[in-house]
Each structure stands twice: as structure tokens, then as C-alpha cells.
């Protein structure tokens, strides 16, 4: 079960990435009522540039253990970007169940600020740092001018509108409803009320995506502690009701179309559980990302996500609450990965810790993570007691 969690998220963290990670570990262990000497497993993820601007850390997981003063008997690494956190939780639960480890910490995050300051993102990090290859085809791919992942998701949004008539207002309503939710989250970076007109009048970044439809990259770590039940932790004894992952490694131009994500497959086995779900935490790198998952996990038919976004009240007060803490669109996206943000909010809701934004009677939560510049990775998790 999940024994505890903690996070430190700031626009710019003044210390080192190791210090940032360590302080989030302390918070998570305090909630779990554990000390560092009880931790014998680590699962981590990493994106180039997000650890104090380093492109790579040689023997990464070992360095994390070195700094934390932990001698693990279980180490693992998951590199699905935004989809990593949910896969890490699934792997940790399996490691604990099999006896490979007693207490596993999941380390998700880094510092986006050194990458942000070079005016690139994790998906265009090759423009600012040398020695990074994004695909086997960079010689005929990275020769073009882009601003990925924004431009790539913009291609999806353009195509979605062309095929299904999805409007800018419909996408904007996702930003507006998530902002309403953020007003109940004291830790959200953006909490001022927002109207559809505000989103539509914000700066155009990559047509049709505007500034308020795009996450802001920040520094931050989310840490989750997984171990056996029966300890001192006061958290609800949650278990995994469903987990699915799917990977579409293709270059998006080679997919049959670009308006679906591998969530179509990772979430397929969760269809029968949708009725039971009390709130959803869907990956929100952009408004269009949320819209795609609304369709791909089965809340709306393909092509009807825009209508759903506009008509369904998915605030924490609504019938189908989605991204109840405001999502990373409002919390900020730590190290170019929102997986920690959505998992933390799912746990807050399940444990009744949501304060003003708490959805009543949350027993089952569905989370979906999307990762990779090309949306190659999707992980779907249903948590309940």
C-alpha cells in the first residue's frame, strides 16, 4: 500500500536538485512514519537537463541512493516521462508483494529551471545541450524548426478541430474548469479566477494553442512510499484495482491518425470500472491532452471530447470531477512531467485531505499518465480501498 507521500514544488528552487529531492523524501517519510534506514527500494525516473542542467547522471539510481544514504536491495528505473509515476507505483507494489523490497520510495521530478532558462523544453533539449538524440531518425527529423512538444500537440489540436469541429472555446473550458479547481488548492501556483475569454485572449503560442492552455515548467519532486500495511502510517490502505500500460513508439506521422493516444489501449481494461470512479486525474500537459484522454479512456466517444469539456461540469463540485486540484496547468509541471502531480492529487482525494476542493465520498480514483514527446506512453491506474 501507499504509506505516505510528499512534494516540494517551486517555480525556481534555490538549492541543488539532490537537496530538492531529499526534502521531498523527508516529507513523504514523515507521513509514512518511517525513517530512511527502513527504505530498501528506490524507483526513479529522469529527463535530460532536469538535474541541475546535467544531460545525464552516470549510474543515476545509485547516485540517488548515495545522496540519501540508503543501501537498497531493489533499484529500478522507468523512463516513460509523464507516464512514469503510475508505472513506478505498480512496479513498487509488485516488488513489495514479491518480497523483493519492504519499503520502496518513488522519486519523480527534477529542476526544470535550468532547461527553461535556455528557452527549450525537455523535448527540444537537444537544441541547447549536445549529445542527445531524440529518435533514430534525427537526421531527417530534427533538421526542422519546431517548438516541441508544444508544436507537436498543436498539430494534434489542429487535426482534432478539422476532423470533429472541436472549437477553441471547448478547449479553453478545460483550462477554466481546472482553474476553478485550483482555487481550492492552496498549493496551486495559479489561483485567480479565469474565464473562457481570458484563455482565448491569452498569447497565441502555436496555433491553435494559447498560453493558458500550456503547462508552466517548474522545479519539484514528488515522492511516494510503498510498503506493507500494518505499520504506523495513518493512510487509507489503498490497493491497485487496475493497471494498464501501452506504448506506441511510432513517429506520429506514421500512425493511422494523430488524434488518439495509447490510452485507448492502456485504459481498455478499466472500462467496466468507469461507473465506480469518483474522480479522475488525467494528464494535463495541454488542454488538448485532457480532451484526448476524456475520449481515449471512454468518458466520451472519439470526436466528442470537446462537447464533453464544454457541457459536463467536471469541477470538484460537478458530476464527473476531473483534475480536482487544478492539475499541473495550475500547480506547474515539475521537470516536464506531470505524473507526480496527478498521483498526489489522487491520493489527497482518496484520503479526504482535499480541504475546500475535497470531493465527497471518494473511494475509487482513475488516473491516466501520458509521456514522451510523441505521446508514446500511456499508463492507466485505478486506486481504491
Amino acid at each position: 500500500m501507499i504509506l505516505g507521500f510528499g512534494s516540494v514544488v517551486q517555480k525556481t528552487y534555490p538549492g541543488t536538485t539532490f537537496q530538492l529531492m531529499s526534502s521531498a523524501v523527508d516529507q513523504a517519510l514523515e507521513m509514512a512514519q518511517l525513517t530512511r534506514d527502513k527504505i530498501d527500494g528506490i524507483i526513479a525516473t529522469f529527463l535530460p537537463g532536469t538535474f541541475d542542467g546535467n544531460v545525464a547522471l552516470h549510474f543515476y539510481t545509485s547516485q540517488l541512493a548515495q545522496y540519501l544514504g540508503i543501501r537498497p536491495r531493489f533499484l529500478d528505473y522507468v523512463d516513460f516521462g509523464g507516464a512514469s509515476a503510475l508505472a513506478m507505483l505498480y512496479r513498487a507494489e509488485k516488488a513489495v508483494a514479491s518480497g523483493d523490497a519492504d519499503n520502496v520510495i518513488l522519486l519523480v521530478g527534477g529542476k526544470a529551471s535550468p532547461v527553461r532558462e535556455k528557452r527549450v523544453t525537455a523535448d527540444s533539449v537537444d537544441r541547447a545541450f549536445s549529445g542527445i538524440r531524440l529518435t533514430p531518425f534525427d537526421e531527417v527529423f530534427r533538421v526542422y524548426d519546431d517548438m516541441n512538444p508544444v508544436t507537436d500537440y498543436a498539430l494534434v489540436a489542429t487535426r482534432h478541430s478539422h476532423l470533429f469541429g472541436t472549437t477553441d472555446e471547448q478547449r479553453a473550458s478545460i483550462a477554466v474548469k481546472q482553474r476553478f479547481n485550483a482555487q481550492g488548492n492552496p498549493r496551486a501556483m495559479y489561483r485567480d479566477p479565469l474565464k473562457v475569454e481570458d484563455v482565448l485572449s491569452s498569447r497565441m503560442i502555436s496555433t491553435p494553442l494559447r498560453l493558458l492552455e500550456i503547462v508552466y515548467p517548474v522545479d519539484g519532486f514528488h515522492v511516494f512510499v510503498v510498503g506493507k500495511s500494518g505499520g504506523k502510517s495513518n493512510m487509507r490502505p489503498l490497493s491497485i484495482k487496475y493497471f494498464g500500460e501501452a506504448h506506441w513508439p511510432e513517429m506520429p506521422p506514421e500512425l493511422p491518425d494523430i488524434v488518439s493516444t495509447p490510452a485507448v489501449e492502456s485504459a481498455r481494461g478499466a472500462r467496466s470500472l468507469l461507473e465506480k470512479v469518483d474522480c479522475f486525474q488525467l494528464y494535463d500537459s495541454f488542454t488538448i491532452t485532457v480532451l484526448l484522454q476524456i475520449e481515449d479512456i471512454g468518458l466520451a466517444e472519439k470526436g466528442k471530447g470537446g462537447k464533453f469539456a464544454q457541457e459536463v461540469d467536471f469541477t470538484y463540485k460537478g458530476e464527473i470531477p476531473i483534475n480536482t486540484g487544478g492539475g499541473s496547468l495550475n500547480v506547474g509541471q515539475p521537470a516536464y512531467m506531470s505524473g507526480g502531480v496527478i498521483l498526489e492529487e489522487g491520493l489527497i482525494q482518496l484520503n479526504g485531505m482535499g480541504g475546500p476542493r475535497q470531493v465527497k465520498g471518494v473511494d475509487t480514483v482513475l488516473l491516466n499518465g501520458i509521456g514522451g514527446w510523441n505521446r508514446a506512453h500511456s499508463t492507466t491506474l485505478v486506486l481504491g480501498e
Binding site: 529518435t135 533514430p136 524548426d145 517548438m147 498543436a154 498539430l155 494553442l209 506521422p253 494523430i258
Partner: protein, 97 residues
């Protein structure tokens, strides 16, 4: 694969007939390895596009059936016919009148 004089080369699978652009030593559809290098007519249409500060980024669907990311020099819409011309170390596309 090369990008000389605005030409776009692609691979044709002699086993299943699939045409693809991003170069591999096996056909992504049938995993066959009898591949022939061909040169595209350079004609295609816009599959999707976005305009940003650095220009226009698009996915172009070539008449031979494969698609690729590229930059486009003119404002376009989905379905517009485009033609490859030589850019700096890469082909770029212009809208057909």
C-alpha cells in the same frame, strides 16, 4: 536517406508494397528486409499544421502515401496541395497555387 536538391527519398518494401519515410532496415509493416530506395514526386498535401514564432510546422502526406514532419513556407490549411523545394539542408514545402 538524403535530402539533396529538395528531393525526398523514401523506402519501398518489395515484400508488402508499403512506402515509408523514416529510414529503417526493416519494413515497419511486415518486417521484410527487401527494401528499395525511391525518390518521391515531391507532391503532397497538408495533414496538419501549426503556426508558431519560428514558422509553420506541419505533417505532410506525400502522394506516395507516407507522411513526414516538415516546415512549410506559406500559410496553409489541412488538405492544401504542397510541393517540396530545396531549403537549407532540408526540403521545405510551398503551397501549390
Amino acid at each position: 536517406m538524403t535530402f539533396n536538391e529538395g528531393r525526398i527519398e523514401y523506402l519501398h518494401c518489395e515484400e508488402c508494397g508499403h512506402n515509408f519515410f523514416y529510414p529503417r532496415d526493416r519494413c515497419p509493416r511486415c518486417h521484410g528486409n527487401r527494401l528499395e530506395r525511391r525518390t518521391s514526386s515531391g507532391n503532397g498535401k497538408i495533414f496538419s499544421y501549426t503556426e508558431f514564432q519560428g514558422g509553420i510546422y506541419a505533417i505532410v502526406e506525400m502522394d506516395e502515401g507516407f507522411r513526414l514532419y516538415a516546415n512549410v513556407r506559406n500559410k496553409v490549411k489541412i488538405g492544401d496541395r504542397v510541393r517540396a523545394v530545396q531549403g537549407k539542408g532540408r526540403p521545405e514545402f510551398v503551397r501549390e497555387p
